[in-house]
Amino acid sequence: MPVRVVDTSSPSQVSGTTAGNTLPPPCTLLSVGQSFSGTQNVSSLQKDEAWRVNVRIKGCDLDHGYLCGTMEALNVPMADTPVVTFWEGEIVDTKNYTFFTGKWGATAEDDIKHWTKFPSFPPLLSQVEVDGGKSLDLSNYPYIFMRWKEQYFVNVGPDCGLTIAGFYYVCFSCNDGSINGFYYDPNSSPFQKLELKSNNDEKSGFRFSTYELQ
């Protein structure tokens, strides 16, 4: 089958006349039902202090740049049980959302500071500085950038002594389904790192479930 050969190592900039899809590509490893496990370093300085974290994707609506799911923190010092939160994500798709957060207490400077911590971001930096990345074509870029904001505690009350005031800058790799993130909350320790790997592994194989709302 003849296929188009394209160099995808760097994202291109949309020229004024080319229409078509510039949104990040759909990726099966980031679809509903997929789960991820890893850690979150609570302090950027003490590497040992890390919570084990499980994430599951529960909803995905690429047209609206929307993703949501749950995050379970396992060895939280103050809690007797794992703490589960529900989060909603904004996919930086240049249509619904740009790299600039514009809320949750994050300035454009905070945005750049966090995004640049992802090794896959620098090729985008110059354009993001100009317009937040609005004119970038991310349709063939193998990384998907997102912001995840926890909305409520699922299994504990809001007075559990934990905060969900901040949000995560997130970078998903379409290659292997790994996720990296940095928690941002002006009142918490900076650059808490989230590192997750896809729970599909090569022993049992890859499985995909589905549901659809009417």
């Binding site: 296929v3 590509p25 990726c27 063939n140 699922v154 090569e202 995909f208 709302l213």
Partner: protein, 668 residues
């Protein structure tokens, strides 16, 4: 004496009917009885029903018939006959007003053609009475449909619209509102110059304005060609007239002007799109929602037609606090059917897209009204409630938060699966379909309500709409549930039924059945074992369906099912290999090659995942499978896909190729 006794009690129905039917009393007394009857039933539903049961309508129609055939009288006699015509026509109209049983009795008694002849009566008062009566009949759905496509009928209609009598012109407009349904009829009316005539009526009396607005809405509805004629350069004035009427002092005129404008804007994305008119329409309707009468009953339906499937309009309505007003309706209407139905429909439309609307509705405690509305006498109310629930539950956030995990909703909703009305059944299935995605591992609330048994029975329904929805709900019920729950589902459904649903005559049922299977085999090895079993019949049924279909959605779901099965043990993988490497009938290509070469990137992705699962390096028989795949031309096909235009396909193809190449040295 009995006769004098009844005449002293004009309110006694039996006596009055007796006098109307009697051949022995003077016509003057009959006229008086007609008047009495008319005065008693006007605006009195109970009296109307009582007289209907006594057979009053045929009596009155018979008097009308005799009087109509006694034309040609002169002097006092003519005047007397005309009075009889007027009073009997008025009584007939009153029976037909707002009561379908009355309309039916009037039509059954043969009043309709008699009333039509009155319209051309020389005495204007008689013509007027006939027109009034017919107008009332035309307010009912039971009124006979008027055939515009017959030339003489169109001429007659134009003569009505051109009449100087206000009621006759309004009758013409009412006939159009009632009978104009098809595109062909709309075009015929437009070509006959009806629009121009209707526009001229916009400057007439209140009833002419109202009748004209309603007919214009009917003639334009869903017909871009007629709408463009209305919006054309000559009719710019007409549009402005309608826009002016949304500020009219009469609430009904405002409502109908909104309806007319919505009819125009819904035909095209380029009409009436400026933000000014959008918010004006919302604000006018918002105010009309509070009307205590018929206008308030109809306003939510008009609002629904404005916002349905239009996210921008829903946002404007949300910002204007429409939700609060609709919710107030629920608090104050004590479940009057029409308003309740409209309110739930409009709330349903508001909740169809926007999460902010769903949040506001749930905060407004609307769910407290659901239990009662789900068992309302009116099927329309029950259906509207289910549609509202379906749209309100279209929210992963609220489902995850357990907002619908409430027995007071789940129990009556599950009962609606056996509603006597099919639209209610379908709507209830739609709502449950969403609500069963409750993101809990055991779905205990719904399983406790017995939903599984109901869904399995409905999945065998003869109605394909019900079958699709039932299997869809089973699929959602099976999403990420515990192994125990999956076993319960399969044991209630049985493998045989599942296989027959996979090969259902309807492609949409096949798609849902395959994705249900896909969910059932996603889990531990035991899950795959339990569903697939040892005989491999189900895998064979899946493969057969994939060979015989050309529908992308069916192929995608089937391929993901095979992919999940291929994550099982060596026997499962072998069964999948057999299906993928089969050539159907005269096909020159295997299912696998055809799927890899599909123009649908989703199918290519699913197929490559299946290949990845079949070639995992640490499975015992992978090397044998790689040999088979190599011989089947898979490697050269995959090499063509490493630069696939779809990133997901490209990355997976590279991964699959990497796995195949690990064994490649032995094969080259």
């Amino acid at each position: 004496m009995p006769t004098s006794a009844t005449s002293n009690h004009p309110g006694r129905p039996e006596g009055l009917i007796g006098r109307l039917n009697s051949a022995n009393i003077p016509y003057e007394a009959k006229l008086k009885s007609l008047r009495d009857l008319k005065n008693q039933i006007i605006g009195n539903r109970t009296k109307k029903i009582a007289y209907l049961k006594l057979g009053a309508v045929p009596s009155v129609v018979s008097i009308l018939s005799s009087a109509a055939s006694a034309q040609g009288c002169i002097g006092d006699s003519r005047e007397f006959h005309d009075s009889v015509l007027i009073q009997s026509a008025a009584a007939i109209g009153s029976f037909a007003c707002g009561l379908d049983a009355g309309v039916k009795a009037v039509l059954d008694a043969g009043a309709f053609p008699l009333l039509l002849t009155l319209i051309s009566h020389l005495n204007e008062k008689v013509a007027d009475a006939g027109a009034r009566s017919l107008k009332l009949i035309y307010q009912s759905k039971l009124a006979p449909k008027y055939d515009f496509l017959q030339e003489k009928n169109m001429e007659f209609l134009l003569s009505l619209l051109n009449s100087k009598n206000e009621n006759v012109t309004s009758l013409g407009a009412s006939i159009i509102t009632h009978s104009c349904q098809s595109t062909l009829e709309q075009l015929a009316l437009s070509e006959a110059g009806i629009i121009k005539r209707l526009v001229s009526l916009l400057g007439g009396s209140i009833s002419q304005k109202d009748a004209s607005l309603e007919s214009l809405a009917a003639v334009i509805k869903g017909n871009p060609e007629v709408a463009s004629k209305f919006m054309g350069p000559e009719s710019g004035r007409a549009l402005n007239l309608v826009i002016e009427l949304i500020k009219d002092k009469h609430p009904r005129t405002r409502l109908l002007a909104c309806m007319c404008l919505i009819s125009i804007r819904n035909t095209s994305t380029s009409y009436l799109q400026d933000s000014g008119i959008k918010s004006t329409l919302v604000l006018v309707l918002l105010e009309l929602l509070g009307d205590p009468g018929q206008v308030g009953d109809e306003a939510p339906f008009v609002l629904s037609s404005l916002i349905t499937e239009k996210e921008d309009m829903q946002k404007i309505a949300f910002d204007a606090n429409v939700i609060d007003n609709l919710c107030e309706n629920l608090n104050s209407v004590s479940f009057q059917a029409k308003r309740l139905q409209g309110t739930f429909l409009a709330l349903g439309d508001l909740c169809s897209e926007l999460e902010c609307c769903r949040d506001r509705v749930l905060d407004s405690k609307v769910l407290n009204f659901i239990t009662e509305a789900l068992v309302h006498d009116s099927a329309e109310v029950r259906a509207a409630t289910c549609i509202f629930l379906k749209n309100a539950s279209r929210s992963v956030k609220n489902l995850s938060a357990g907002k619908f995990m409430n027995e007071a909703i789940a129990v009556p909703l599950v009962q609606r699966l056996w509603d006597s009305s099919t639209p209610v059944q379908v709507a209830a299935l739609g709502a449950l379909c969403n609500m069963v995605v409750d993101f809990t591992a055991d779905k205990s609330l719904f399983m406790k309500c017995g939903i599984l048994r109901h869904l399995v029975v409905l999945s065998k329904s003869m109605e394909s709409a019900i079958r699709v929805s039932a299997v869809w709900a089973l699929k959602n019920l099976a999403f990420h549930v515990s192994s125990r729950c999956k076993e319960e589902i399969l044991s209630e459904l049985t493998s045989a039924t599942l296989a027959s649903l996979i090969s259902d005559p309807e492609a949409s049922v096949q798609e849902q059945a395959l994705s249900l299977t896909r969910n059932l085999v996603d889990g531990t090895l035991n899950s795959v074992n339990y569903v697939i079993g040892e005989d491999g019949d189900l895998v064979h049924a899946i493969g057969k369906q994939l060979q015989s279909t050309s529908k992308a959605e069916v192929l995608i779901q089937g391929m993901y099912t095979l992919s999940n099965v291929a994550s099982g043990n060596e026997l499962h993988k072998k069964a999948v290999m057999t299906q993928l490497l089969t050539r159907a009938g005269n096909d020159s290509e295997t299912l696998m090659i055809k799927s890899l070469q599909s123009s649908d990137s989703r199918l290519r992705t699913a197929t490559v995942w299946t290949l990845i699962n079949l070639t995992l390096p640490n499975s015992p028989d992978t090397s044998t499978r790689v040999t088979e795949l190599w011989s089947a031309g898979i490697v050269s096909q995959l090499k063509n896909m490493v630069n696939d235009p779809c990133l997901d396909v490209k990355l997976r193809a590279r991964m699959a190729l990497g796995q195949l190449m690990m064994f490649g040295d032995a094969l080259t």
